[in-house]
Structure formats: C-alpha cells, structure tokens
Symmetry: C2
Subunit: 207 residues, 2 copies
DNA sequence: TTATCTTTGTTTTATTAATAACAACATAAA
DNA sequence: TTTATGTTGTTATTAATAAAACAAAGATAA
C-alpha cells in the first residue's frame, strides 16, 4: 500500500474510533452516509477513503463494522506495536497520559519525562515519570519510537534535539513554537493558541 | 476585508506569536525568509499571506515587526475583545487556562465550568470554576462568545447543545467525538488521538 | 418479469492551497 | 553612471483535496 493522503489517514483514525463504539453497541453494518453524518462530511468522501484502503462493502447492508475496523487497523497500526513517550508531565502531559491509557493495543504510552523532582518516580495513568536526563537511555531500553512534546515553549527546542539524538521516528509537538528536526523524522505540530485564535476570527463576524 | 483562507488565518496567528518574540528581543525588521524558516514554510507563502492582508514591506529591510503585528491584530482581533469559557476543568482544561492566561489582550478566558463539587469555586490561573448548571447565566452575564469543550467524551454532546442555547458564537471541541451545532456557529474540532495515530502511521515506515 | 429504489465504487470536475516564476525596485558596488 | 544583488508583490502554474456525477448491482415491490 503506497502512502495514503494525509487527510485520509486522519479520517480513518476518526472512523475507527466511532466504528468501535458502533461495534460495542452491537451494530454489525453501517452505511457510508451514517459514517458521514457522524463526522460532518459527505458520504462520497467516506466511500472514497474506504476505496483507497481497498475495502468493499455490500450493496444493501453497507460496510461490515468489524471487518472495516480490522482493515483500518492493518493500515494504520504497526503489527508489532509502537511505544510512545510523553515529555513534560504538567497538566497537558497528564491529560495526554489519561487520554491514551488503554486506548489502542498497538500504541502504548510507556514512559513520561519531567524535570520537576517531585514528579519523578510518580505514576500517573499507569505511566511512570522519569528524569529528562534519562531520556536517551529509556527511549532505547523501552524501544520508544514516538514522542509527544508537552513541555513549556522555552524547553521544546532542546527536547526535540535530544529526541532526534535518541533515535525517535515521529514527534508530535504541542508547544507553540515550531521545532527543527531532520527530514527522516516525521513531525506534526499542533498549536492550541492558533486553534483558538482561528475560532475567534471566524466567530467574530457571526451575527 | 473579505474572509481570508483558513490556512492563512492559522499562519497569521503563528506569525504574530513569533513576531512578538522578535519584537521583545528588539528586532525591528524581518525578512520573509526569516519568518519562513521559523515556520518551516517557503518565503513565498509568507509574502503571499502578508499580501492578502494588504501590508507592504520595504525592499531592503523587509517588514517592520511592530507594524506587522499591529496589522495582524487588526485582522484577527475584535476591537472590543472576545471572552472565552472553558468547559471542563480537568487536566486538559487547566492546561488550557494556564496556556491562555494573559496571552492576548483581546482574547480572555473569563470563566471555567465543571461538575465536580470540589472544583467549583476554586480559581486556577486567575479563572474561577463555576458549576455547569450556571452555564447559560454566566455566559450571558460575562458576555462570553467563545467556548472550549474539554470534558469527557460522553458529556460533550450535551455541553455543545447548552452552549448553542446560551448563544455562543464559536466552539473549539477537544473531545474525540464530533459534536453537532447549527450552521451559524463556527465549530473547530481537534482530536489528539487522531494526531498521534497520524504520527504513528507516518513514522511507521521510517527506517 | 419488470420497474424502482438505494447504495456502492470510480471517474470527472471543482475548489482550495502551495509553489514557481518573474517584474519592479532599491541599494551597493564597480 | 552602470551593473549586480537581493528583496518584495503579484500573477501563473501545479498539486492536493473535496465534491459531483454516474454506472453497476442487488433488493424490493408492482
């Protein structure tokens, strides 16, 4: 499977989340327009995404929920799983730990890091907090390939450098300043302030 | 000014953030390629965005930092300011309160809401926590036009309904299930799980 | 049996966003 | 004075994304 479009990957993740809920409710089949309604998009978009991953529904019943979930899993997940570290155990870091706890079988938060001595050694949502000085060691020991940066903005750049050095493969940066990483590392930046300012801008002119 | 492209609005918010840092450092002028480097985009993109808001730099010195910040403010901000409420004072909610504290003159978090009796009446990052039962009253009293949803996923839909009823103009939803709001309200959804799964997908095949 | 309805899968078109190309201009250097 | 350099502002092109259009197929009902 050649790499899928960015936006399709995002939507597949979202489809799966809600398909799992449908499955838990005992729903066996689902139509493209039902999926579309949940996500505020068009049914065509849904069918196109599903086409791209090579799944085929049945004409009268739509898509088999379990099968579709399984196939999205094959596409998105790495069979042997991926381990995640959260750098920064402040409010945001802890929110993330709770969020991701037992969320996905193939994606586990296995360590957190912080500089605050009071936090080191504590366990939150099953995740132990280590000192940042041990970053490289533990990333290697625990075979961590993905990191989430949730430290204050002034520390983000240094953390990113350490992560690169430690051999991380993907970074999700929540700090509001972009970080620099080499080409071979996948970097996703998300900035809450920008999201809020965007809402403010578009809400400004609403009657 | 007709409405700007989505992505341009996002970038303007980011430009401003970093221009303010430049200004604080005493930097008076900045070139498009300097801005571009910070944000990992092309100088053309920067110039195009700046063109769209009608600002003009000088040929040899680039853009005047203070002037550009002021103009972005005129574009993004509402002159009389906008008030924000955060619904859900858990880890994520508190992270947001801290994040936005004194961040923008024209965008102030003026109330938080939660159902937990222990949290009600407490003040975090200068923001008081009110019971959700008072949502409508306080949104009206404090002239709040923007809300951030950071409650557990099962409560998000009901909160969204209340917010709509309370006359909110824009919503930023951090819960992982999309909410339904009428057309006349601006809705931005952001889902951390999707971001992480996206990083995992694209990092998966890195060597 | 035939017609109708509904839904999928896929191609075509439209929209949005990013990039490239380049003229205009000011400064500095020759 | 003339040429070279580097930057902006803007138009043109390309790429990415979403939407529309529609054929195919199977179920249902007439």
């Amino acid at each position: 499977m050649s790499t899928l479009p960015d936006k399709t990957v995002e939507r597949l993740s979202q489809y799966r989340r809600n398909l799992l809920i449908c499955d838990a409710k005992g729903k066996e089949h689902i139509f493209s327009h039902e999926i579309a309604n949940i996500h505020h998009i068009t049914p065509v978009q849904v069918r196109r995404d599903i086409m791209l991953i090579g799944y085929t529904g049945t004409l009268r019943k739509g898509y088999n929920v379990k099968e579709l979930v399984a196939l999205i899993g094959e596409i998105l997940d790495k069979p042997e799983g991926q381990n995640v570290a959260i750098i920064g155990a402040g409010n945001l870091g802890r929110a993330l730990m709770k969020y991701f706890k037992n969320r996905r079988e193939k994606l586990s938060v296995v360590a957190a890091f912080d500089n605050n001595p009071e936090k080191i050694g504590t366990i939150y949502a099953n995740v132990e907090v280590f000192p940042i000085s041990q970053l490289k060691q533990i990333i290697s020991d625990k075979k961590i390939s993905i990191a989430i940066i949730s430290v204050p903005v002034d520390n983000a750049a240094a953390i990113a450098d350490s992560l690169v050095e430690a051999g991380i493969k993907g970074i999700l940066n929540f700090s509001p300043r972009p970080v620099n990483v080499p080409e071979h590392i996948y970097l996703e930046e998300y900035d809450m302030i920008t999201s809020l300012e965007k809402v403010a801008y578009f809400a400004k002119n609403k009657n």
